[in-house]
Amino acid sequence: MMLFADPLFGLPSWIDAIIRVLIVVLAMTLVVVYLTYGERKVVARFQQRLGPTRTGPGGLLQGFADALKLVTKEDIRPANADRWVFELAPYATFIPVFLVLVALPFAENWGVRNLALGLFYVFAILGLNIVGILMAGLGSGNKYALLGGVRAAAQMISYEIPLVVSLLCVVMITGAEDGMNGVGTLNLNLIAALQEDRPYIVLQPLAFLIFFTAMLSELHRAPFDIPVAESEIVGGYFVEYSGIRWSMFQLSEYASMWGFSVFGSVVFLGGWAWPFGVDAHWTIQLGTTLVKSLAFIIAIFWVRTTVPRLRIDQLMNFSWKVLLELSFLQLIVNGFILYYEWPQELLALTSAIGAGLLIFLIIRHATTRSTSGLVGTYKTLGTASQ
């Protein structure tokens, strides 16, 4: 099932591919520039500030001013850094992120390539991202960077598994759709098209929660920003970078945030297909994708501004002792329901129960504290005794 249109203007396939890649790269650059601006604005509102206001109307040109500043800064390399490892690390971080954008469907016919294994491709390639981070951590000749690299590697290995399993839950369901003959698909475009009637978040809220959590962890965003913890290891693996190389790290961070958001909105929120259907005009489809990915991104910002950071062992415990079990449980329950062809409402029900369980576990864990009783009561400590 090939949903992608023929090559643009009937050009040869490879020229068409290059043109599409160029468009995506330009779009990505623009998105990243405005994501940095958007983050500063959104976070500023959360923190009772205004954010950038001086560059252009409402600070709209802030991203370009930042970029200009960064490229003109001196590019410093520490004396005891491993030269080639240090200098190549930003590119090794950036290339996988860029490769991921190749497989994402932004609208029915908008994307670089419609890969049959798109979903698998995305998380296989995103896994390579960590290599650049490790190179930066090891090559900088800095202990903070080293600690950041170790933390990033441990965290990435742990959270990759729940992430993949939560995606598999969705892939399983695609097989049960009409016209799929019990065979699921990894094609992202097809997954989006299959959600024409309802997004998979309705059927799999637990998988979505796990995906979102693991995504925050893969992106090194709060509360899982342990590898870049500013108050502990001063920025982690990119502490020694400056100027253009540092901006490469930033670029890949924001680009992967955007990539993940589009990916998540395709898999769980119905991508371009829901709620306007597969026959909607491409502008509407594109707008739908954009709005959904923006919702993801704002949720990430929101979490970032409001929650503190976890400790590394708590992070590991949460992944291995809670998320992994729940994701496997979801997978097995899905398997039973789909194999015996029980109604799909059961999927939604079991998954919602699982999601409730996850939230309950977190809250119970945090509130079982034999406290001094000052919490919530100190205002009416009351007697104000002499």
Partner: protein, 167 residues
């Protein structure tokens, strides 16, 4: 044609990176060359249109195994600056012997086998459903057994490592 040119470029890159793994004087550089080799082999699979295998190669070898190697390097070295380290010279003859033997065996097998497949320059794309049928239906039991074995090995490794700390 274009594929053939790319194939040669990648062949040279992979061989070069492989030589880098052996000859570079820093363990860190070796590990990074290894990543290059693994990724290059993954790209090769794409030329052969076995995309699934290519992605598995990226995920397992490019993403996970080499990360573990780098992690081990980070955890075991006191000096993070990546300066060249002394290679243990006493083991070199054995390494040469093993490496040479393995090379001879592989070349022998590759040359001596009559490979099946079509010769019309159009490799067949293996459908992922065929792979999964093989894996989960035909060889389901061995697959599960191997998974269980790996799990036991994992748990055993954890227990051993914990004992060493005296817990």
């Amino acid at each position: 044609m274009a594929t053939e040119v790319l194939w040669w470029i990648f062949a040279v890159l992979i061989t070069g990176a492989g030589a880098g793994v052996v000859f570079s004087r820093s363990v860190l550089h070796s590990a990074i060359f290894l990543i290059g080799t693994m990724a290059g082999i993954g790209a090769m699979y794409i030329f052969l249109t076995v995309e699934f295998l290519a992605l598995v190669q990226f995920l397992i070898y490019g993403g996970a195994v080499t990360v573990l190697i780098l992690l081990a390097l980070m955890l075991t070295r006191a000096d993070p600056s990546g300066r060249p380290e002394k290679v243990n010279g006493a083991q070199m003859p054995f390494a040469l012997l093993v490496g040479g033997g393995l090379l001879a065996a592989l070349v022998g097998v590759a040359v001596g086998t009559s490979w099946p497949g079509n010769n019309d320059d159009e490799p067949t794309n293996i459908d992922i459903t065929a792979v999964s049928d093989r894996l989960f239906a035909d060889f389901g039991a061995p697959f599960i057994l191997i998974s269980a074995l790996l799990l036991v090995a994992l748990v055993g490794a954890i227990i051993l490592a914990r004992q060493e700390e005296g817990e």
